[in-house]
Amino acid sequence: MSAQAPTGEQFARFAVSPSRRRKDRLARGLITAGTVIALIPLVLVIYYLLKKGLGSWSWSFFSTDPTGNTFFKTSSIGGIKSAILGTIEIVALASVIAIPIGIGVAVWLVEYGRESWFAQLVRFFVDVLTGVPSIVFGLFIYIVLVVGTGSSYAGYKGSLALSLLMLPVVIRSAEVILLLIPGSLRESALALGAPRWKVIFRIVLPTALPGMVTGILLSIARAAGETAPLLFTAATTRNTDFNLGHFMNSLPVQIYNDVTSPTTSVVNRAWGAALTLVVMILLLNLIARLVSRRSRLA
């Protein structure tokens, strides 16, 4: 232990030995390779979607309903109009149900429930909801609204199944944003004499809204791609219908039905529908990202 300047020999002692260097290089190589492997399916999925899907895109593909003709090559198999409109209708109603309830519960968790045992219980149950398989949501709604009422499938039942799926996402993302709002903002409003409800509606919610939009859009995007909850709640039909009390077609369900077809043209329709669905979902994701970049909170 001398304070002398290290000699060259002593410096060499600190050099990384060849075996350690090899191990380091190998590990780095493996990590990089893993990352590349992770991106391969993304590239392949997008490439195949574009290759197969763009081929079936045409004006009539979007403007006609699917027909039942799958055996006769001469007749038209139709497009996906009813599926697109059905998806939009079902998801819109699901959003109308899930977003206000979700934000309401999030507001309660942050403003009233806080860390109480009841709030912790609600948080736990919301987490439980997040983990429930989407097909089980379909079964729930089937039991309550199809068996329970003795009626048949309907668009609004599909919406309810999807809204159950969206709820936990909306609640958790809204809660995160609400927690970011500085307490001083609430306190100054309260100090000026504003009642709690006014503080929530005039101060807390308007401040949080831009941040919440991201989570909401992502939950809508998730719901739009779900097939399983719709199978025994809303589907299936071929016609365009604006009455949510009737059977309703949707993009995921139509793709699912077309996949099993032995007819090539029907499978191609599935590719075209899949590309349409992915484009819709990616647009929602893109908007969500842009909004979250704009908002100060998220």
Partner: protein, 336 residues
Amino acid sequence: MPGGERSILERSPLARLPDRALKYGLTTLAGLILALIVYFFVRLVGEAHPAFAHQGVFGFVFGNDWNVSANKFGALPLVLGTLITSALALLIGVPIAVATALYANELCPLRLRGLLTVLVELLAAVPSVVYGLWGIFFLAPKLQGAEQWVADRLSFIPFIGGGTVTIPNYFVAGLILAIMILPIVSAIAREVMATVPADHKEAALGLGATRWEMIRTAVLPYCRAGIVGGAMLGLGRAIGETIAVTIVIGDAPQLGKHLFGQGYSLAAVIANEFGEATGLHRSALFAAGLVLFVLTLLVNALARVLVSRASRTRGSSSTLRAADEMQPIAEAVAGA
């Protein structure tokens, strides 16, 4: 303040009404969510009851005979199918997800990090039915040759080798699931890795550790619980995933003889058979849903505990543990 009179700062009972209404309204709303879940669960148990009464709970879960026309509902082939595909998904997906997270957090140039994160998250934006479509028309046929080669070479290992490879099979289902759980496992791994104190990493590097030794001694031990939790959340996803698996697993209600043969899963059987099911068959499918529900519940609860424990700030014990793990490096450097 004289008794009975209100202070001028106090609101009249009427003005306080909206406050009360909002508070109790929202509390009811939150309570309704609990009631709803409990209600669903009770109804599901009620609907599944006839099947359990027919088979016995044990006979349902472990009976190896799913024969609708003979009214036999032993769900073992389905349960095992779910477990096999999910296990495959974890085996393939988790190492790759952790590698992606490590690359993004520790190795990759700062400018690339955002792009990489977005790209991995894009995998989550693809709907499951699209993965199914892609899996059955692209992935499964392309892999068939390679799978057959592996099956022939490894024919001495039971369950993996030997049989004839079919296009839809357990392995393809597991592979698709691995792709689908990748984004969530990777996102959680990245989040947990971000909590590793820079001190630990710098200390490791300062002691002369290489990049990899730093990862192995400072990053990975610190994140172990969080990564395991993330993997469990991915497992929950994989177990519950329905449509993609239904399309690529082959829908054969017998226990598959080998990894590259057709099988079935709990979620897939519901999606496939529910439309035509009546009576006891339908009840058996509800029972399958219940088993699925309980399975995901257990896995997710365990995952939450692990993730929350990992993301909480660590006390001195972990610092000490990290110091312990770094000791070999320090010794290697000093005592060379």
